[in-house]
């Protein structure tokens, strides 16, 4: 297949899953297996693109011109390809988990659930491969809208209220701020193409640079920077597979991925460094990291605690962009991958606990680790990766970010990163400790979650190890994004 065809396949293939869910709505086995086949095929289609161009940047593939200067177009570049690979790869795992979870919990409206999931994945692929801001924005909004029914899935008052917050903040910020920033960019630069080295240098100056950057940082609500983070805890009312794939990987990563893209390809790292426009964003991100960690400490609901932890970890990526240094950008890219693997493990563990014994509060989980050793073992590994301890993948991202901070001569940021790691220990470890050490209060016999729930979380826990040892591949792969001059 040539590249345009491959790109079309990657974006359209997940939609086949919608069809499968529609046609086989009443035959659960056929439905879930065909969706799984679609997921596997999508992953291989992404791999196929990787085989074709490796970590080079492809030519632009223009699909459709909407208004002159404004077209739906795609371009493969390393950061986006990595994001597409993570999302499609973890989709397979989450789908298996989701089938186990939804059947185990006897949830209603499963065809609608899996169909919306497919649309969301298609939108993520569009975001990952977009070659200009308009295309990215289009898929960004599709992603928001297609995940709304997933958050509201249970249909209870609580779920509807959560979904309302979710949609309100994401659509609100994107229309009021993100769109404004895009039109502004288009008005001054005449294009919204992602270009190596940025498109704004010399076109905008003075106080407008930090203002425009602010519009992007706050407008991209999916990056959950404080104070626009409330949607993420609110979205935790969704079934756990949604929290796992979408609110630990796809949706939130789409946010920080967009921030990185804007920083690297719209502003340009050098332009940001020269103007110092991103310094205030760096402090904001640092504040976001610490504040969200402290809030996480106070949550007793496991999923809410993980959600605030995600808010904090996402700010690492924003921080990487705001450092405006090559190592910082690389660290941001690594953090996308590492945090995805670690956090999805944690969420799947939370879901497995819920399926096995319907417990959601950490204070109830005393002694649970002894009856569910696999789940709590995987949780332990995921937590270590999030904290950033070797030999787990998460450590490299922290390492690169610290180097980036040193490179940009912001030594305080190194301190912030260290304090944050300590806070991570403080809010993640007690869960494990309580699980294994505390005296079990329940008389009821509790068993591990079903096999379909356990297998995926073991796989991703192993993935955290693998990422540590093979990080050089990933670094080599991502290096081109830090180059500023040269080929477009």
């Amino acid at each position: 297949m040539d590249l345009p065809a491959s790109i079309a396949v990657v974006i359209l293939l997940p939609l086949l899953g919608v069809l499968a869910n529609g046609l086989f709505a009443t035959r659960p086995n056929l439905r879930d297996i065909s969706t799984l086949v679609v997921a596997v095929m999508t992953f291989f289609a992404v791999l196929d693109i990787y085989m074709q161009i490796g970590n080079n940047t492809s030519n632009e593939v223009r699909a459709w011109e909407v208004v002159s200067g404004l077209s739906i177009a795609f371009r493969v570049e390393p950061l986006g390809l990595m994001f597409a690979m993570i999302a499609s790869g973890l989709w397979i795992i989450t789908h298996i988990y989701g089938v186990g979870y939804m059947r185990g919990g006897d949830e209603s409206n499963q065809p609608r659930f899996f169909a919306c999931f497919c649309v969301a994945i298609s939108a993520v692929m569009g975001i990952a491969l977009a070659s200009n801001l308009f295309t990215l924005f289009l898929f960004y909004e599709i992603l928001t809208i297609s995940t709304y029914p997933l958050v509201a899935h249970k249909g209870t008052k609580e779920a509807i209220a959560g979904a309302r917050t979710y949609l309100g903040i994401l659509i609100g910020t994107s229309i009021a701020l993100f769109l404004l920033a895009i039109v502004w960019t288009f008005a001054v630069a005449g294009t919204t193409d992602f270009t190596r080295g940025g498109i704004l240098d010399g076109r905008i100056a003075g106080a407008f640079v930090p203002i425009l950057l602010g519009l992007y940082v706050f407008g991209i609500g999916k990056a959950a920077i404080l104070p626009f983070h409330k949607w993420l805890p609110a979205a935790m009312v969704a079934p756990t597979p949604v929290s796992a794939l979408l609110h630990a990987v796809a949706v939130v990563k789409a946010g920080v991925f967009t921030i990185l893209k804007v920083g690297i390809y719209i502003f340009g790292i050098d332009f940001l460094a020269d103007t110092g426009a991103s310094v205030w964003v760096m402090w904001l991100a640092a504040y976001s990291i610490l504040a969200a960690s402290i809030i996480a400490l106070m949550q007793d609901n496991l999923k809410r605690r993980l959600a605030y932890s995600t808010v904090s970890q996402l700010a690492y990526v924003t921080l990487g962009m705001a450092l405006a240094s090559q190592m910082g950008a690389l660290g941001g890219g690594l953090q996308i991958a590492m945090h995805a693997m670690g956090k999805i493990t944690l969420f799947m563990c939370a879901g497995a606990i819920y399926v096995a014994c319907h417990k959601t509060d950490i204070s109830d989980m005393r002694g649970l680790g002894r009856v569910m050793p696999v789940t709590f073992g995987a949780f332990f590994i995921g937590a270590l990766s999030i904290i950033g301890l070797p030999p787990l993948g998460g450590s490299w991202a922290k390492f690169a970010l610290m180097l980036g901070a040193a490179e940009a001569e912001h030594l305080v940021i190194i301190g912030v990163l260290m304090v944050s790691s300590l806070l991570n220990v403080a809010y993640l470890m007690p869960i494990v400790v309580r699980g294994f050490m505390g005296a079990g209060g329940d008389k009821v016999v509790i068993k591990e979650a079903p096999f379909l729930c356990l297998l995926p979380l073991v796989l991703t826990a192993v993935g955290c190890f693998i990422l540590f040892f093979y990080v050089d591949c990933l670094v080599d792969f991502l290096t081109p994004i830090t180059l500023t001059g040269g080929l477009k």
Binding site: V66, I160, G168, I171, I175
Partner: protein
């Protein structure tokens, strides 16, 4: 096109008059052959004919030159001229499309809402109203505009009053509209009299030339203000909008669909025509208070009407207030006095026309099944009518301006026009006001789709999906909302061309 009139025999040469003539002939025929079934087919034939003529006009216009037609072979200024250019072609195409699609829809919805014996007269009024709107758009003669304005208005009053079968308040709503509309028409004709007195012509192109030579003439200024206020009433520019919410709320559903997506749009087109063809840009730039006022009332409409829409508990009323807000965006585009701004206005006329048609059609379908459009009675109804709901969600997304829908395109151009003029604060306000649209739209979606329906007495097992005759037009328009969000050849192509000729003095 030849400038001299040559006797023409083929139908093709009469294209410009057909959209006005066919329905005008159809209306009396319906009255003569009274039966309901015949009436429907006469109306359908006239609408389809008008639609084909409008589509053909658009194709002819691709060549660039306007199509000129002398009524009865009499050349202006003595005779009446019909003049179709990019601007009028686009608006006429919108009206024709809506007209053709609303008719099959009306056939079903009227059965539920209006007594059978009135149906054929409603079709006749619908044809008259359609013919009037078409005439306003296609004619090149100022007095002719007034005549057609009155034809469309009078038939609209009757149409709105037909809602009385469901709710007696339709009568007072129609009466309100009658009073306001008549005042508007009176202002308009007084303004025309001023123009005629100072220039001695009523042909729009002629008027334009003579006014350009006559700047600073006080009676012209007076005429301008009269025309502005008169049309403002018909367009429902804030704060002259008071007739609109009640009229749209209490009219039969099919009538709401038709009027909401065409009537105010045609009047706005006339305003644009008078502003830019007759008075022209130099006059407007000189008379700056008008564009400033227009911009301010536009912004006020965007916020206050959207804000009121948020608190409505009646779906049709909510949509009506949203219309007033959307008209705010359109007049804001006019107030920018720039090509991009005017393009935004014309594109939004088209895009909002199809968007609102979908939504009012959806509201009518819900009424058909639930017998009410109050939020309390609609809770959870969307789950029973997924196809209606799907079309409505597309409509709501377009109303919000989500990318990939028609509404986004108009918003994009409007915001760009604001940046072009250096009015970045206006750009901010435009986007902030769309947040209000998010709130009022999503309130409705959430209610229809996710609200529990246990307490809703109206929902029982008999509630099914709306009939195909409603669903097909609704889905055609819903898909058009997506189509025109991706392919802007027709909308921006024609609107941009129109703005170029209108402002470039063409």
């Amino acid at each position: 096109m030849a400038t001299l009139y040559e006797p023409a025999l083929s139908l093709r040469d009469h294209l410009a008059i057909l959209p006005v003539l066919l329905p005008l002939i159809g209306a009396p025929l319906i009255v003569i052959f009274g039966s309901r079934r015949t009436a429907f087919f006469i109306a359908l034939t006239a609408f389809i004919g008008a639609f084909i003529a409008c589509a053909a006009l658009l194709l002819e216009l691709r060549g660039g030159a306007p199509i000129v037609y002398y009524l009865g072979g009499w050349a202006p200024p003595a005779g009446i001229e019909y003049r179709v250019d990019a601007a009028s072609g686009l608006v006429a195409f919108l009206i024709a499309t809506i007209g053709m699609l609303v008719l099959p829809y009306a056939q079903v919805s009227l059965k539920r809402e209006v007594e059978l014996r009135h149906h054929s007269l409603i079709y006749a009024c619908l044809l008259l109203c359609f013919s009037g709107l078409m005439g306003m758009v296609l004619t090149g003669d100022a007095f002719n505009v007034f005549v057609f304005l009155e034809i469309s208005s009078l038939s609209a009053y009757v149409l709105i009053a037909q809602g009385a079968g469901q709710d007696k308040r339709a009568l007072t709503a129609a009466y309100d509209y009658l009073i306001m509309g008549t005042i508007g028409a009176t202002f308009f004709i007084i303004g025309l009299a001023f123009l005629y007195a100072s220039t001695g012509t009523l042909n729009l192109a002629d008027l334009g030339e003579r006014i350009a030579q006559n700047t600073g003439n006080r009676s012209l200024n007076a005429g301008f203000v009269f025309i502005f206020v008169g049309l403002g009433l018909k367009i429902a520019i804030y704060p002259l909008h008071l007739w609109l919410p009640r009229a749209y709320t209490f009219a039969p559903s099919a009538v709401s669909v038709f009027l909401a997506s065409t009537a105010t749009k045609a009047a706005l087109y006339v305003l644009v025509r008078f502003f830019f063809s007759v008075f022209q840009i130099e006059f407007l730039e000189h008379f700056q208070i008008i564009s400033i006022t227009l911009g301010l009332v536009g912004i006020m409409a965007m916020f206050s009407a959207s804000f009121i829409a948020v608190f409505q508990r009646n779906l049709k009323r909510m949509l009506a207030y949203s219309s007033i807000a959307q008209i705010g965006y359109m007049v804001l585009g006019v107030a920018m006095l720039s090509q991009t701004g005017l393009t935004a206005t014309l594109v939004h006329i088209f895009n909002h026309g199809i968007t609102k048609a979908v939504l009012f059609m959806g509201a009518g379908a819900l009424f058909l099944r639930a017998g009410s459009v109050f939020y309390d009675n609609l809770a959870g109804l969307g789950r029973r009518m997924p196809l209606t709901m799907g079309a409505m969600v597309l409509g709501f997304l377009s109303l919000i301006g989500v990318p990939g829908t028609a509404g986004f395109i108009s918003k994009w151009i409007l915001v760009q026009a604001a940046f072009e003029r250096g009015l970045w604060w206006v750009a901010v306000l435009i986007l902030l006001s769309s947040l209000l649209a998010v709130i009022y739209c999503w309130r409705a979606v959430e209610l229809l789709y996710f609200a529990p329906n246990e307490n809703n007495k109206i929902i029982n097992n008999n509630i099914k999906e709306a009939p195909l005759m409603m669903l097909i037009p609704m889905w055609i328009l819903a898909l058009a909302c997506v189509w025109f969000g991706l392919d802007t050849d027709l909308t921006i192509g024609f609107a941009g061309e129109a703005a170029r000729t209108l402002i470039g003095g063409g």
